[in-house]
Amino acid sequence: MGWAQRMKRALFTRGGVHPEPRKVSSIMKIFPGPNPEQVIIPLSQHIGAPCEPVVEIGDEVLVGQKIGDSAEYVSAPVHSSVSGEVTGIKKYPHPGGHDMLAIQITSDHLDRPSPDLQPVAEPLELAPGEIRVRVREGGIVGMGGAGFPTHVKLDTPADKSIEVMIVNGAECEPYLTGDYRVMLENSEQVLMGAKIAQRALGADRIVVGVEHVFPDVIRVMREAGGPFGIEVVSLPCRYPQGAEKSLIKSIAGREVPTGGLPRDVGASVSNVQTCYAVYDLFYNGRPLTDRVLTVAGDGIAGTANLRVKIGTTVSDVIDYCGGMVGEPGKVILGGPMMGVAQYTTGVPVIKTTSGIIVLRADTMLVEEPGHFTCIRCGRCVKRCPMNLMPYQMASYADIGDWDALERFDLEECMECGCCAYICPTKNPLVQLIKVGKDGLARRRRKMDSLVGTGDGRG
């Protein structure tokens, strides 16, 4: 990388914070996860329409058998991760917080694979359309956290062209090391999956972005990617480096326009584990039924990187890792910056769960703000990677002034939490911005309905 490029990258990365990495699990190999008695597989593990169950209570299912599907385009089917009997179809706790319809399967511990999906001999010879159909059938969604159906992402509209496909190996959240271990142990598989995705996208080149604090991964990926002509870029270490828009800014030097998508600037971003899932689907004929996640935190006996079956409950995973230590304070699914604290360990691991963080009550710093108290220091503005003004957005959201909020690009906020992290008065800025987004959406719906009826009054 030449100095000019280096300068450009330095210039294009703005904002962000540096939380303590705490990536102790980075030296731990990926172990197979627990073999649960029962799995709970939610029918909504992605952005888009939830699935409808295609099995009934009492049905016999096999590993990789489709158990839920939707007719909508923006959706992805779900598959059984164990073989056994369907024992329940009702609402179960969901990592999102609301109880969601899910399918409970009691395992027979035989793990008999389903013959529905078979490996493809030459996946790189397939037509892009066929790749997308298979990716959808495999139930693959973005595994970085958002869960956007991958087949939709791989569908480049006719008037757009994708120049660069970025493989997201910047695992910037503290504690999490799952993507890192996958890149280290399955580098070739990840790149082969990326090649298939590249074919579907019609992208010219593949760039892998890895934070510079992982030189071993960069070396391994460069060795594996050399023959394919894949570039591996070392990125500055900061949070949120792995956010889609930040990554495009850092690697391609392009800024996604407000309200736009990465494809508008000729880029597409896929997570490392998504690429691995694509590989697994095409070369092994296995749909997305498991994922690598990190179990960490000071409240857990054993820190580990596990390949966990989708639908395994968090309590099963915690027991598998030796149980909790001390009085549990919080159990967070995902990273500590963007993850969601859970109220029960009965929630299942889903396709987008990148980690289980258990924090102890006695070492946990709990802030109880209650009210918004901003001292106008402006640190959140400086740290916002999207050039927004969090304190202003939060202030207006707090008093419910939706007219004033219209002036700020609330939709641009990706809720990375940099502002709340850096805030010296510990204001829940992200929460208030979420309230603001909701308020604006309600207001716009109301406006639209008024325009529809021709009634000028509220």
């Binding site: 709990v366 703000p369 707090d398 208030l432 979420k434 309230v435 909701d438 109301k446 009054r457």
Partner: protein, 288 residues
Amino acid sequence: MDWSLVWKAAIALGGLALLFGILLAFASRRFRVETDPRLNDLIGALLGSNCGACGYPGCEAAAQAVLDGKDSVDVCVAGGRKVAENVARVMGVEPTMAERGVALVHCIGGLEESVPKAIYQGIDSCAAADKIAGGHKACEYGCLGLGTCMAACPVNAIALDQDHRRWVNRDRCTGCGLCVEACPRHLIQVVPRNQEVLVVCNNRDKGARARQVCSVCCTACKKCEKVCKAGAISIADNRAWIDYDRCTQCGMCIEECPNRCIVRVAPRRRRRRRDLVTAGASSAETGS
């Protein structure tokens, strides 16, 4: 000292003052905007809190609308009958007052009755709590009790007791409906003012599941539907609904409801406490 400086300055400034005075006098005659003298009286007659419940940007806009004949004298939703009478007096017409309903919170599950599922840390607002994993209550339909409706109420008719139950003061409530829009769970409805028998649960889950999360929930057991002689109660979406046109307010359903989620709210303060005791609904909404 040179006195000429003083009188020169005095003449110059006095001349300017005279000139501008003439100009201003001319302008005020020539460019005068005709305003209705009643506008100021009208603004005075309205509440002046600019609450926006009427749908206009503020009290002045509402007053202008009344003057222009675009709206009737009962434009002020929050002000109720009194303000309507004042506005009518200014306009010189008979006061007309559309009968406005009264707000009803479709949930009386307080801290004791409704099971919490999590400890909530964050901004004290229902809208904010609802954004985080659907709130801290196990019931995903019930009132979160953080007082977003109270903040929205322009006449302070909603109060919150220590058990996090909402109490609507029916004497103060003007039925403006601002709280209806504020509630993130859509729990508040404006019901007819003379309706006394009301269902105070909005749980749409099946009975068994509803019982798990709250002790004053509607389980859609249909007992009220069977006992109602007027045929005013129907069960839909796993909860009871009262048809206010048919209801004779006999109170049979209150006696029958096993979970005490149908209550009688009394219109007058004197009768209220006794009624609540006989209905067995200690947590009914009432006035203070």
